[in-house]
Amino acid sequence: MQLLDRIEARRFVGREFLLFLWFESELFEGTLSTVAHGSFGFWIERRIVLSAGKEVTQIKGAYPAGSREAKESLQRGKLPELAGIHVSLREHEMNFVLKADTLALSGLSLAAVLDGGAEEEGAGLPPAELLGPPQRKKKGPARGESDAAHEAFYDRMQRTRELEELLEALYRDFLALRLGPAWEAFVEPMLKTWCAGDEGTELDSDGYREKRENALGGKKRR
């Protein structure tokens, strides 16, 4: 099988990964953890799109994944295609949309550190229509300006990398569970119970956490 065929044949794993993140963030009340990162805030917000074939359900709101419609879509066989996600890692708050089929990020907003103070990205920039037609810049911006731009770029890339590492760690944990005996033994049954969402059904999050940690090598998370 060619690489492109293999890529296409495993797109569904991205959707299962997003479903798994949604499930665990709900089960653990918006606090996930990895061995490398410890605990951090992680929840779905603003928007979730679920689909199967041509059938698409889009839900918007402060907590779209908590709506009855979202669970009903799962029960009808739809899986999350994309979701708005909030991550709270150490002192950083990040929002972005995760696209399940490609694992691409869109609309990732980071707080920029410029001139020694925190500043929200995009703040203070004039609207595009006020900037006028594009002009060829004189060669070589002022050195201070150039250094500040480079510093801002390194800062953005550093934080982007941190988020990517977090998502990769989550994906690695997911793969360890998905591709091991844990999936059939307790993850899938728990997912199905959660998905069915019957009122009065209490999910044993502590029991799940313990089994999960054992399956991932018994590494205790903070």
Binding site: I7, R11, F17, G77, L103, L108, P134, H150, T160, L175
Partner: protein, 208 residues
């Protein structure tokens, strides 16, 4: 969505292959060779892509200082394309057809004459218009072996990959659940399950 400011929207590509020792010098030559050459109205090409400085679509004289940011290779991927609005083309074509037929004293154009006339009209209109331009930032982290391409358009990604692989002696692999799993590494047992993996069925009426 640019790399340098604002919110970030991007696709990742994993870089496969070893970089040569004289990578920076060789790369600069290859990058300069494939720097954007703006379209001219009289040339045959209707679309062209090339490199520009990141964040500076009109900066086409690329030097080490505006490409290498420590361990990053930063470039703008610029694509120019002639776009003639349909109504404008139709109106000018109608005028040109009428003038041609009157000059020749005929009532109808042959297919070939129509094609030639269309090309002539398009060339004339291109002299009055500017090509449409799109620019996508690209940042290659040499330490991580990751290219971040700040667009999610598959067409732009395909064009970028073509230019990138002409320029650099490495292979680009798009990120996807499959390729990320391969990059993170699976055990033998996981690989066996991975090869046979089928979707989890959760619902009572699975549509997939």
């Amino acid at each position: 969505m640019p790399a340098l400011r604002g919110s970030l929207t991007y696709a990742r590509f994993f870089v496969e292959g070893e970089l040569p020792e004289d990578f920076q010098d060789r790369s600069m030559r290859a990058i300069r060779l494939r720097a954007m050459k703006p379209l001219e109205p009289d040339e045959e090409a209707l679309e062209r892509s090339g490199w520009c400085a990141i964040g500076e679509p009109f900066e086409l004289e690329l030097g080490h200082e505006n490409v290498f940011y420590n361990e990053f290779v930063n470039l703008g991927f610029r694509t120019d394309r002639w776009v003639i609005p349909g109504p404008m083309m139709r109106a000018k074509m109608k005028e040109a057809e009428a003038a041609y037929l009157q000059k020749k004293g005929r009532e109808k154009l042959s297919k070939r004459e129509k094609t030639e006339l269309k090309e002539l009209v398009a060339r004339k209109l291109r002299k009055q218009l500017s090509p449409s331009m799109s620019v996508v930032d690209l940042s290659w982290s040499l330490n991580d072996g990751i290219v971040r391409f700040f667009s999610l358009s598959p067409r732009k990604a395909a064009l970028m990959m073509e230019l990138f692989q002409k320029c650099f002696p490495v292979k680009l692999v798009p990120e996807a659940p499959y390729t990320l799993a391969a990059r993170l590494g699976l055990s033998k047992a996981e690989e066996r399950t991975w090869e046979e993996l089928t979707p989890t069925l959760l619902g009572i009426g699975d549509l997939a």
